[in-house]
Symmetry: C2
Subunit: 479 residues, 2 copies
Amino acid sequence: MAKDSKKFVEAITSREEDFAQWYTDVVKNAELIDYSSVRGCMVFRPNGYAIWENIQKNLDARFKETGVENVYMPMFIPESLLNKEKDHVEGFAPEVAWVTEGGQEKLPERLCVRPTSETLFCDLYSKIVHSYRDLPKVYNQWCSVVRWEKTTRPFLRNAEFLWQEGHTAHATAEEAEERTIQMLNVYADFVEKDLAIPLIKGRKTDKEKFAGAKATYTIESMMHDGKALQSGTSHNFGDGFARAFGIQFSDKDNQLKYVNQTSWGLSTRIIGAIIMVHGDDSGLVLPPHIAPTQVMVIPIAQHKEGVLEKAEEVRQALSAVLRTKIDASDKTPGWKFSEQEMRGIPVRVELGPKDIEAGTAVVVRRDDRSKEVVAIADLPVRVPQILEEMQAAMYERAKVFRDSHLYEATDYETFVDTINNKPGFVNAMWCGDAACEAKIKEDTTATSRCMPFEQKHLSDTCVCCGKPAKIMVTWGKAY
Amino acid sequence: MAKDSKKFVEAITSREEDFAQWYTDVVKNAELIDYSSVRGCMVFRPNGYAIWENIQKNLDARFKETGVENVYMPMFIPESLLNKEKDHVEGFAPEVAWVTEGGQEKLPERLCVRPTSETLFCDLYSKIVHSYRDLPKVYNQWCSVVRWEKTTRPFLRNAEFLWQEGHTAHATAEEAEERTIQMLNVYADFVEKDLAIPLIKGRKTDKEKFAGAKATYTIESMMHDGKALQSGTSHNFGDGFARAFGIQFSDKDNQLKYVNQTSWGLSTRIIGAIIMVHGDDSGLVLPPHIAPTQVMVIPIAQHKEGVLEKAEEVRQALSAVLRTKIDASDKTPGWKFSEQEMRGIPVRVELGPKDIEAGTAVVVRRDDRSKEVVAIADLPVRVPQILEEMQAAMYERAKVFRDSHLYEATDYETFVDTINNKPGFVNAMWCGDAACEAKIKEDTTATSRCMPFEQKHLSDTCVCCGKPAKIMVTWGKAY
């Protein structure tokens, strides 16, 4: 019996009914990802990978403007190298994959598949940095990393995922701190402006910081279910790794000094954020700036004379200014609309015999389904404007949602009640003691997302223990 | 004691003295690659990786013009999946790296780190291809692969290297064959036009074809020492993998059929070819089309008033049309020239007080060191022309070299004598028997590079056994 062609658009669970199932349905039905034969490893299908390609292109250009140079480091790290920095190995060793055999022989030393590459960059820098003239080193690589985690979810927690990791070395602590913040700001600008996701920028508590870092800075975003997603991090290592790996340089004053280092990363997790911040019950909604296809031209009654030709003309005219496709398949217009909506293509241009007669087309925005009749000749001017309006509206909508789900608490009862019963984040004062952080996590499963740069003095005392407060923390349940 | 800044330009071995050492020296001194702590794995440094980035950009655009879509597949292949196609596993199993432990537990099944991803693509296609409407699938991925080989050489044979691998599925055998040849032509066009490397296109003998392929096509290039480098391959699998993996579709006639597949790849080996075809005793010579930096502006007597300012003006003007840098460091001009030459930057623009007074600059080509005095105002027009002239001259020079090292032989004595004593390839007739191929390899270490598309009838009999000849083969010693 012949297998039937699979249906592209299938009913998906609604967000309110079951957010987790909705997410899985969207990822699968928009054909972003497929499961592979390896536990926790995903296939990035063309629709999913094209989003990542656009993120790469955009972010890489921003990196290069700040003087970043790309490199590629080996994917394997010898166990002895991983072990060089104590905190770092403790943070990562439990979740790595080990290569123990190669070319039909048992290896003399286990090699881990990189979970992150600080150790390799340090090893390189220890060999190529000698003088202040060799500094700074501002290297980055785009690659895949492996973290052998028990439970996985598409984009959010994969055994293997794609990311970029920047690793820098500087002559002074000040310069390293500047670079750490600079890259955090590059991420924030990109995520807010191009992904239309509002952020809270801040510093991680010691408990939440990166294994081996002196300070970790983060951008945190709120998903539609009120949960937090760490969307990018930037770490200042001070000279900790430099001491462990012996990365020294001869400074202008002829003194031998240790370099100061940073690292910073953003991964395919961010695609999960795009889905969960912007998506709706019809599927994906992609921010125009990074949508692989920005416009889908859909002919109506395409069997009628002249319709396909005109639609193809429109596609060509729009292709000069936007990433445009035409759906001239033999599916019904309604089916094509559903497909375009499921895939999150920002606008569709509907074009039928009556439109053509009137010299117009109907432009429909994906985010709010608003329609606008536009003269065909004006499309190449007006559609880019509509996309910019949509980009701005998506950010605004997400910000209103985030702000209306950002609570404050000054006593523990209210804090626990809010974080447990209202989707969103809670701002509250903290004494700085890790014990309070641990208690909150135990009582509520919420974690400290960050100590935001934008501080507010909510109360004099820690929301948990009542001791004098040091700083305001944003708390949330996280992916 | 303070470590001294390392010297950028060091004397390198001459090509004639020791070609292998020359190669290693260039790779190291042009800072393309560094060795890592893992045997056979290399660090691609900024100068080396930037070449690969340009190759990617150029080739990816060509792919997309032919309808290729990019994806990303997992880096691990379960042993049972690798074992599904018999010839394929026999070809690759001996040289793979195995992951046996993950997350502190022994894995139930070994996972190999991909040496190539046919099996994963087949696994995916078996799940997502159902109807003729789902075809063709023309997927590609840019990634790293691992082949655990005993001896390694930078770019040429690394335990881990970077490449792209395209994998397609088609409804008919004809369409698969067309795609196989189409992609070979995409490679050939790119390598000849943008890398300035002349090629021999042809088909591999059964002995040399890809493990599991019905036919393998190749582009072969000749290095300056006369050795061959396989520079890109395109394989037609017929329906062999489809049968092993059960990739079937319901055709227009409602019959269930197996797809026909292809795969094609080009790797960072090609950077080795660029070095060995074009390099000289001063270092690298990069084809202008893919040189990361195309122009280096070098101020002369830069301490004199106005020199640096004018040089910076020139840099800016040239940056609008070419990838341009300025070397305003405190090194001597001679030192800067050596650096620019070592790194293979196609032209330098020398600019001193006298030039500025005359309103001119001296443009020096890297390949033949020819100098041209150009009015400063004309630089943005003239330098791009000079680069195109250089690009064409590099191809021509390489072609003259290749043609003058391409011999013919009609008897075995001449054949063996030529292949052993004259650097280059030898064309000779072959009976089609693998025994002759084996004997030639044993007697001379030369292998059949390909059965070129451009055939010539050199003799009636096989150069090895004297039996009737079927086809002309290009023989050579290979990297």
